[in-house]
């Protein structure tokens, strides 16, 4: 998998490993302008099957715009998105049939019950044998006792479980999770992370995960992309990346990047020379 910034000075990227890998997502030269404002600045990255990739960055970095473009609700100004090898721009419906998502800002209709929401989305995604799939999800996400409860009155944790159940209804090959555990207590968040990790391993689903919880990112992500001002500034293993860049933790690295959004050079300068060419930090 690889990710790359545009040819901006100081951008760091990881060399491609496993060129013949099975890609759930490939984004190439993705760009989004709103008038003269550049929200996403020509980024390229991919997510392999079974891989969990963290998309990190400060508010306004372009994470949600990137996710919205992958979901087909925001048209890129330039660039190409392929889901399971299917070009989103040309074959939107086929590409999105392999995709699903859960986001804190996209609550499911609160006036439908848990079952009705799952039924509605199983039909929208054209899921064959939708009823049995729903029963399976009710068990998998501990929603059976809430089956006939309106989703608008569920607790935050229950709503998150429902959103994740909906996100799994079509057994996607690519799952986009925008702060999926933001409103959960640590115990519930841990449980959800375990389930998602197990699901990725079991189904081979590629996951793009955004979060501001660096502990969570270190725990669950195989790889992270640091986004700032629409560019990928860093990419690598969340467990080794901080050390490689002279930070004591992922959170410290995040804060440095967030406060110096275009400070690739100072950041690179902080990296000992012998580490700059080390695997995972190719300039």
């Amino acid at each position: 998998m690889s990710g790359s910034a545009p040819a901006a000075a100081g951008s760091l990227k990881v060399p491609v490993a496993g060129a013949a890998a099975d890609y759930a997502l490939r984004a190439d030269g993705l760009r989004k302008n709103y008038g003269t404002t550049v929200a996403v600045d020509g980024i390229s990255f991919d997510v392999r099957a079974g891989e969990i990739v963290g998309l990190l960055g400060p508010n306004g970095a372009g994470k949600t715009s990137t996710i919205n473009m992958i979901l087909g609700v925001l048209q890129p100004s330039a660039g190409d998105i392929r889901i399971e090898g299917i070009e989103l721009a040309r074959r939107r419906s086929q590409a999105l049939a392999h995709t699903n998502f859960a986001a804190v800002y996209a609550a499911l209709p609160g006036n439908l019950t848990v079952y009705q929401n799952l039924r509605f989305f199983s039909l929208i995604y054209n899921v064959p044998a939708g009823s049995s799939r729903i029963e399976q999800l009710l068990d998998e996400f501990d929603l059976r006792r809430l089956r006939n409860t309106r989703s608008g009155v569920l607790s935050s944790g229950e709503q998150t479980r429902l959103a994740l159940a909906k996100a799994m209804v079509n057994e996607p090959r690519l799952l986009l999770l925008d702060e999926p555990t933001a409103s959960l207590d640590p115990s519930a968040a841990n449980l959800i992370r375990s389930r998602i990790r197990a699901m990725a391993v079991r189904t081979g689903c590629g996951i793009l995960w955004t979060s501001h919880n660096m502990y969570e990112v270190e725990e669950i992500c195989d790889r992270v992309l640091f986004l700032s001002r629409g560019r990928i500034l860093l990419e690598g293993d969340p467990r080794t990346l901080p050390h490689a860049h002279g930070a004591s933790s992922l959170e410290e690295l995040f804060i440095r990047l967030a406060r110096e959004p275009l400070a690739s050079a100072p950041l690179a300068a902080a990296v000992p020379p012998q580490q700059r060419d080390a695997p995972g930090t190719a300039p």
Binding site: Y34, N68, L71, P109, N111, L123, Y125, N126
Partner: protein
């Protein structure tokens, strides 16, 4: 187009109505009030006027047809508004759902809700005021067809308008039938209108229904050609409305409007 996604849109509306009397009541209450009000007005006019015109057939019949058209339009827009009110656009459109499937689902909802309204009106108008609705025979089919098609066209048009202008523009949708009614001659022949209003009226499919209805009820037959024009115009309006909706949807995806659609961000 696939059947399951279309069924999803209609099924969602069924779920909402089944659990919410506040959604069902307006489908029945307003048409019932209209029929009762205009039924008594028609009955009164029959007693005071000696024109030979049966006001139950002409006036109450016209109200029934007009309310049917209004219900079709509102059935389509109400299903669309559910996604506006529940901020569900991103959930619905970040899926394989095609715009044609979405619109077909809205239309199915419009069919179902308008038929409920029609049944209520027929029962009340026939039972309370003796409206000889079925005396129009097979003419009912083209009449209802034209009004149904035009109701769908306006429902899709209104949905496109709200998608573009934001939830606050919802209030612009409800008066649309009232704005059109003077031009289509619901209660009077187009000939009483000034020429420019007649010209507008001839562009609106319902005018062909009401002109023919009065003619048929008065024993003067009907114009098949005029009804064909009405059907053709209504079909053209549907195509235009669907094209407009698709164009606005594409604009919403291009501009980011769809991804951040809410009362706070649009309109």
């Amino acid at each position: 187009m696939k059947l399951r996604p279309i069924a999803a849109i209609a099924l969602r509306q069924f779920y909402l109505m089944r659990s919410s009397p506040t959604r069902v009541l307006p489908m029945i209450a307003w048409v019932a009030i209209d029929i009762i009000l205009w039924g008594f007005i028609s009955r009164y006019l029959n007693t005071v006027a000696s024109t030979g015109v049966n006001f139950i057939s002409t006036l109450l019949g016209a109200v029934l047809f007009w309310d049917f058209f209004t219900r079709v339009m509102q059935g389509v827009t109400m299903a669309f508004f559910e996604d506006v009110w529940s901020r569900n656009f991103i959930n619905v459109f970040a899926t394989p759902l095609l715009i044609s499937e979405y619109l077909t689902g809205l239309v199915l909802t419009g069919i179902a809700t308008s038929l409920v309204g029609l049944m209520v009106m027929l029962v009340l108008a026939t039972w309370l005021f003796g409206l000889p609705f079925f005396s129009l025979g097979l003419l009912l089919l083209p009449f209802l067809l034209v009004l149904f098609l035009f109701g769908i066209a306006l429902g899709v048009l209104a949905s496109a308008m709200v998608l573009r202008l934001g939830p606050a523009s919802e209030w612009l949708v409800w008066p649309i039938p009232a704005l059109l009614s003077p031009f289509v001659g619901v209660f009077y022949p187009l000939s009483v209108l000034p020429p420019w209003m007649q010209a507008v009226g001839h562009l609106l499919p319902p005018s062909y229904v009401f002109e023919n209805m009065r003619s048929a009820v008065g024993g003067h037959g009907y114009s098949g050609n005029a009804l064909l024009i009405g059907v053709a115009l209504a079909l053209l309006d549907i195509l235009l409305a669907a094209w407009l909706f698709a164009s606005i949807y594409r604009y919403a995806v291009r501009s980011g409007l769809l991804a951040r659609y809410s009362a706070e961000s649009v309109g």
